[in-house]
Symmetry: C2
Subunit: 438 residues, 2 copies
Amino acid sequence: MALSTQPYKGARDFYPPDKRFQKFMFSVMRKTAERYGYEEYDAPILEPLEIYTAKTGDEIVNDQTYTFEDRGGRKVTIRPEMTPTVSRMVAGKRQELAYPLRWYSIPNLWRYERPQAGRLREHWQLNVDIFGIEELDAELEVIQISHEILKNLGATDETFNIRLNTRKLTNYVLADHLGLDDATTHSASKLMDRMHKMERSEFVKLLKEVMPPGKADELVKLLSVKELSELPDSIKSQEPAKRLSALLDLLKKSGITNASYDPTLIRGFDYYTDIVFEVFDNHPDNNRSMFGGGRYDGLVGMFGVEPVPTVGFGMGDVTLQKFIELHDLMPPIGTETDLYVVLIDEVSDHARKVIADFRQMGINVAVDWESQKADKAIKSAVKKQIPFCLFIGAREIQDEQYTLKDLATTKEEHGSVEYLSKVIKAKKAGSRYLHITG
Amino acid sequence: MALSTQPYKGARDFYPPDKRFQKFMFSVMRKTAERYGYEEYDAPILEPLEIYTAKTGDEIVNDQTYTFEDRGGRKVTIRPEMTPTVSRMVAGKRQELAYPLRWYSIPNLWRYERPQAGRLREHWQLNVDIFGIEELDAELEVIQISHEILKNLGATDETFNIRLNTRKLTNYVLADHLGLDDATTHSASKLMDRMHKMERSEFVKLLKEVMPPGKADELVKLLSVKELSELPDSIKSQEPAKRLSALLDLLKKSGITNASYDPTLIRGFDYYTDIVFEVFDNHPDNNRSMFGGGRYDGLVGMFGVEPVPTVGFGMGDVTLQKFIELHDLMPPIGTETDLYVVLIDEVSDHARKVIADFRQMGINVAVDWESQKADKAIKSAVKKQIPFCLFIGAREIQDEQYTLKDLATTKEEHGSVEYLSKVIKAKKAGSRYLHITG
């Protein structure tokens, strides 16, 4: 029986045009992160299960990871997220590293999702983290980077919005203001994390199952607030509220016009300790959270070293691609190959020298080694989106003069390798196509 | 109990300096492959087990893969090699793709190796494959690429050598010339594959256990031949020998001076059908095979479509890094961060504008947000290998004139953001450091 040609369910093959687009996204991510002084790191895709059990959240670890026993009987997990890994790495060189530490990575992550539209089992995710800063400068910087990546992709502030909250204020409201016990506080915040996935009436009903109806009504009222200033004095005078207010001011001063307070924002991971943020698409067809992050000051300390204050975010390739497509921000991306060489006589041996000369001039050359009809070869080059074709026959070899065909305009140029290399480079430099290389 | 900070056994963390070096190697690989018209693709790290059981070789699949059952009861494998995956992808679009198809990828691969020096469980491997060419042009091209990658890393032809053989000739010698049956042919070639890992006497002894002593002696003699021309006429007149001879001629004509015939070369994978090659390090401390490839015309056909003639090779990052280190080819690689900004007064708010201006000018800026002593900040910047430091205090903000310190020369420059950006860019352009970005 023939084997299936399909990739593993929920994961994607990247044929060259898909890979080019992914490289374009990654290149914008890398350049933006590096503009802020971040350095790239990487780590193995397998991690011991234990680094997730502590803080990632039970649902993700128990139901959604790829975990198995290796041949040595160790429980290992294909990483579902990068934050525990980067915390492990910082802890491993806690004393040697120079703070503030600015790191980024673009790992692939695996989750055992039930197959459904838009839910993939493998995705890539930019992770940007800053270690060693307790002040708001850290939150400001990572939010600026996430904002700037979208701007560098061509998005305007109108096409997305940034929502902020703080775990500390949410806890204050639940535990102190409403006086709920620990278990109820926990249940209420788990409900809040899911509230946008259900009807409002359903949410209120569920809230009333875990706390007195009066308190549920008060919580619902507090969750409908749009500005920190609308909160009761007793809440907005708390330190976490002041801190968030100061961050919103800093964002405004930095020219970010689309950030605001959202009391309903929770984020699923258990490890966040203070300010959290999420970036939402404003497109009517995709009005949902795209990615987010926050402060997690406790994770490095899990590895037996002194904790390090940390703020970070993760931006996935699947949601970002959807954003780019919906807002029509897709740039034309060209193949890296500049020239398709076609042999019109049996001249392989002589042609090799000419081809080597073009490569020496910095031209990326693919060769159609089978001598064939010109129109068939041109069709092949067009299919590969290669911009130029060059024909080499016995006469061309003898004269050392070649014919270059621009496949977009069908215009022809004649001349030496050196001259034609210049023609190709000039066109590439002035092209509306992006060319992404490693 | 604190969690371990160690990466999973046999796999590596890449701290930023390690990652920079890896990116340098990948960048040379990418640029060289693209110079020959190859396009990058990618695929999921998980594959169904079945795509390996057919042709990869029993030892690898049964003893050396990470294979487990997913939650849906499917047997999945973390890819130990990329060749079955790329064959699956080509088969999946067999009719739509334009041939010859030139593809490359740099996947990470996993093998369950017993922990020992230099044997890792995760490594990255450049895979370069050309589909759709039956002629030797395909072999020549991929060998040229592997040769050129080493040259582009700074290696000379004296530091490595390329050894070639053909499966067809080996089979002819065993099955036809020596008249061995299928089972004996198979055992003999498995022994040959391991012959360089044992003493010669041991090899001869083992050979004599599977075939008549006279034939074993004759085989040993044939395996000691250094040139195709030294073979008996009845063997060297065979088509596979002529084909290999023609390839050796083409390599010589293409300026590759370090390629030769090696009758002992087998390569482990079962899927090779004809010419195979391996690249050996000539360094006395590492006189071993680094990587290799060959023709495998049958693999795409396993997926129920018409077969496609294919030649490819895989080049691993671990062996390549060892080669670079042993031959002292390691270039100085600089951090992408250009400038470290230090605040010498409480001027964060004003400084943000200045920092944004530097970034606008294309300078990669990391900021030390804690106002601190200049010498401590400089120490931090030096530790991070950042070339320049800039100090911003109240006076600088007022004058809009800043002091830039070159940390290598300790020379200082004074001026505007625009002027100092030019100073930084000029130094970067003339730097002996490589800067690799995505």
